[in-house]
């Protein structure tokens, strides 16, 4: 049986040892996706300043679709344009941006009013920048 335990990454119990029921229970919870909800915590809403500065544009032709409600825009309709250039109806995007700070289509993040989150977000952006700097350097050296 040893091979089965090895395959599963488990260890057989030694003489006199009792199974760890907490561990089993945790595995059960994981298998039934109980933890999923916990990791879904959203980043804080867009800052008031950014929210107010999001431009409203008037569409010049029919055809494009709001990806939140799936209705097509008609010529003359207005829409909000996020910094990533994605367009949404005001009534469709507003409830989302009062909850969190990203474009629901491309996930690009915007500034928030939450100091702790901002520190974390800037660190994340710096890390990304460093990665691309290194990549550029690498490409310029080896191309």
């Amino acid at each position: 049986m040893a091979d089965y335990f090895e395959e599963m990454g488990w260890q057989p119990l030694a003489e006199g040892q009792a199974p760890n029921h907490y561990l089993h229970f945790a595995r059960l919870l994981r298998d039934f996706n109980i933890f999923d909800g916990l990791s879904e915590k959203l980043p804080p809403p867009v800052s008031k300043k950014v929210l107010e500065s999001i431009p409203t544009i008037t569409l010049e032709q029919d055809g494009k679709q709001c990806t939140i409600c799936l209705k097509e825009y008609c010529k003359g309709d207005t829409a909000k344009q996020l910094p990533c250039k994605h367009l949404f109806h005001n009534t469709c995007i507003l409830p989302w941006l009062t909850k969190t700070n990203s474009c629901p289509l491309c996930r690009q993040e915007m500034e928030t009013d939450d100091e702790d989150y901002e520190a974390f977000r800037k660190e994340k952006m710096r890390a990304k920048q460093r990665e691309s700097d290194i990549e550029n350097l690498h490409n310029s050296m080896f191309s």
């Binding site: 049986m1 039934f32 996706n33 939140i68 409600c69 799936l70 989302w96 909850k99 629901p104 996930r107």
Partner: protein, 199 residues
């Protein structure tokens, strides 16, 4: 927010019903309540896979924050696949997690699941036992997946050898599904499966 979700599902419902995949009987959605939060999905097993000929039922729960967050989807029909739990039906698929985007719909979800049945990703498994078999004994994986399709999803390919071995365990008092899981996990080696069941 709940209102946006309900409106969206209503629209999508029409979209799926009108789509050509439905005409080909490949995907289907059905409403289970009038608040548009619970749906039943169905996908046909793709051709040239062990799932061919089977119909797989999905449980779809629409969160209040839909379409900003993905629907929660789970296989109700038991299935043998590296990215789907053979115990709970939980699915490991990026678009149902962090790769979700608001523009996706129930139709894209069902079609992506169908694509997942055609092309498993054993390196990002949901079911470690199935993924291991998929990588190390693919022929056995194909046999097992086809057998499960036959038994649970109405697939046409009866495997007499599998059925016989399950019957032998059933004769020893083992419940049928439990016997199938043990045999599937041990590459249909009756001896090893028996050992595990009685240990």
């Amino acid at each position: 927010m709940a209102n946006i979700a309900a409106q969206r599902i209503k629209r999508e419902f029409k979209e799926v019903i009108k789509s050509e995949e439905v005409a080909k009987c490949a995907i289907r959605v059905e409403l289970l309540n009038d608040t548009f939060t619970e749906l039943k999905g169905e996908i046909a097993g793709p051709p040239d896979t062990p799932y061919e000929g089977g119909t797989f039922v999905l449980e779809i729960k629409v969160p209040e924050t839909y379409p900003f967050n993905p629907p929660k989807v789970r296989f109700v029909t038991k299935i043998w696949h590296p990215n789907i739990s053979s115990v709970t039906g939980a699915i490991c698929l990026d678009i149902l997690k962090d790769q979700w985007a608001a523009a996706m719909t129930l139709r894209t979800v069902l079609l992506s699941l169908q694509a997942l049945l055609s092309a498993a990703e054993p390196d990002d498994p949901q079911d470690a036992v199935v993924a291991k078999q998929y990588k190390e004994n693919n022929e056995m994986f194909q046999i097992t997946a086809r057998h499960w399709t036959n038994v649970y999803a109405g697939g046409p390919n009866i495997n007499k050898d599998c059925d016989d071995k399950i019957r032998r365990l059933a004769d020893m008092g083992i419940e049928e599904h439990q016997a199938r899981v043990a045999l599937s996990s041990y590459d249909w080696e009756l001896e090893r499966a028996t050992e595990q069941l009685f240990s």
